[in-house]
């Protein structure tokens, strides 16, 4: 008689994709620095009311343009006597929101456009991609200015404008990776198992296209922060007295000779935030692209 012996398979914990990414991320210095900067800004944004020493909007006319480390103003005060440190901390809240919301808008439309046009192909794809090309032909700042002037200048509208102006980029990234993935057998296999087109597009193919999209989104957050600062500087984004970094630079640029910190510190904040997201995004690209990984 033949007996079958069941061998005990040793319990090895297989790393999830997330754990694997984290493992490679830890070895990438640039990405870790970026992640550190991002984390600091995110914590600042979340705990702004707890850590900021004063009310960012409260004016103290007698203490206008106080230099750094004077009278309890760690980073000085601005031309209306508002605490710079508190304003920068609250500015992080606004900038992070702008980054996430506008990239979210771009992602939402970019993914839908990219996935459907790659999946259906043919004339539909051609028409959609030519429209996308037309949008790409406009410089983004022109596009956002047009959108903002239609909607009216405000922070919300700036987010929408930035979001819409970046849709073409996400649509192209997503389309390219869907084109590569949709020919795989597993798509046909899922179809043979009764999946509808919607399921095929968004539940089967899309999860395989997330790596380049995540990289693009991370880099995009930094860019969106920069763009919104630019729009606010031009007076098309946040309106005073909102402590938005770009707006802070714009409203105090005439003081650069006698109170440099009012102009320079928001600039440094923008620089750091954008740098953080770019470092992290670059690192992610190295890790998530199998060709770059050894």
């Amino acid at each position: 008689m033949k007996t079958t012996e069941v061998l005990e398979v040793p319990r090895i914990k297989e790393p999830t994709p997330l754990q694997e990414t984290w493992y490679h991320l830890k070895k990438n210095t640039g990405a870790m620095i970026g992640l550190g900067i991002i984390s600091i800004f995110i914590l600042m944004a979340i705990f702004a009311p707890l850590i900021s020493p004063r009310d960012p909007l409260a004016q103290e006319v007698s203490e206008r343009m106080t230099p750094l480390m004077t009278n309890g103003y760690i980073l000085g005060s601005d031309d209306l006597g508002r605490d710079m440190l508190s304003r920068l901390i609250y500015g992080a809240r606004i900038s992070m929101t702008i980054g996430v919301v506008s990239v979210g808008i771009s992602l939402f439309f970019g993914i839908i456009i990219g996935v459907t046009s790659a999946f259906y192909g043919g004339v539909f794809d051609k028409i959609v991609m030519r429209l996308i090309d037309i949008m790409l032909a406009f410089p983004y700042i022109l596009l956002t200015i047009v959108i903002v002037s239609i909607l009216g200048p405000s922070l919300t509208n700036a987010m929408v404008a930035i979001g819409i102006s970046q849709v073409p980029r996400y649509a192209r990234v997503v389309r390219a990776s869907v084109l590569a993935e949709k020919e795989n057998d597993y798509v046909l296999a899922e179809k043979a198992l009764g999946a509808s087109n919607f399921e095929l597009m968004f539940l089967t193919i899309l999860p395989n296209c997330l790596s380049p999209t995540i990289v693009q989104a991370t880099l995009g957050i930094g860019e969106a922060i920069l763009n919104s600062a630019g729009l606010s500087f031009l007076g098309l984004g946040a309106q005073p007295p909102t402590p938005e970094w770009g707006l802070m630079i714009a409203s105090s640029k005439q003081f650069i000779t006698n109170a440099w910190w009012i102009v320079t510190l928001p600039g440094i904040a923008i620089l750091l935030a954008v740098l953080g997201f770019n470092l992290f995004g670059d690192g992610l690209r190295d890790i998530l692209d199998p060709k770059m990984r050894n």
Partner: protein, 333 residues
Amino acid sequence: MEDTKDLLLSINNLNFSFDTQRGVVNAVRDLSISIRKGETLTLVGESGCGKSVTAHAINQLNPMPPGRVDSGSIIFRGNDLLKLKKGEIEKLRGTQISMIFQEPMTALNPVFTVGSQIADVFMTHQHISKSEAMEKAVELFRLVKIPAPERRIHAYPHQLSGGMRQRAMIAMALASPEPGLMIADEPTTALDVTIQAQILDLLNDLKEKVGMSILLITHDMGVVAEMADRVVVMYAGRKVEEAQVYDIFEEPRHPYTLGLLNSLPSNSKYQGASRLEAITGTVPDMRTIGSGCPFENRCAYASEICGKEFPKETALNESHSVWCHNWQKVQED
């Protein structure tokens, strides 16, 4: 001729073609096959002879366009599949007609665990909860003899070996509530020989247990011998011979079938021989085939009429038919 009560699927006079940039390719021409309940039918032929197109035509997986059905019908459980609406065919896929593929390496979605992929099939077709579906997935894994199924269902496809993945694919195909027909498109081509035998055994075993019919597509006569009840030999989109598996091996009557069998290394005439026999020439360009027999240019038995018209069916016994003008000459040899 056949008992229609037992009939699961019949393809009648199917003509399927592809519009390509360089002309129309008639991939399948005037093909009729039928599968009874619980039967294994194998489609045999070399690459590009229309085997896969036929299989994909059943559950309409051929890209259309460029593909199109010119004429014919595909009757499955009394319904003409070619007349069904898109939503209806989607419901049929994975519930009554399932499919396993040639490449287990690429036929599973790399970003999900195999268990969740199987559970998804249950959840789509039977509307049960995720935990119930996972339990059913474990049962299926046990059925297809994957060791330690409780753990394996949490593995990603790249963590499994080729044979294991093919078993997972089969489990997925079995996740249908009422399996009727399983289409196996060269299920063992990408596997090594020992695993091949295991997978074929498994398929035979499951056929009995589940009571389904199998349409097996292959170019491997060894697989045919192992699996088939009946065999249909295809050449350049046409059926050239159809018979019970025994008749195909013992009394081939089409020169092409004979050629296929003669090129098997296990053939007894190769005892001590150093070279294998091959069918000379290559498959004709599918765009330029005329009205004659497509095998004419490679056939040792070809006569004048072969280039002019495709032969009519000759029934040798109730299940053995051949489409050749000169089948008697083949018989004499």
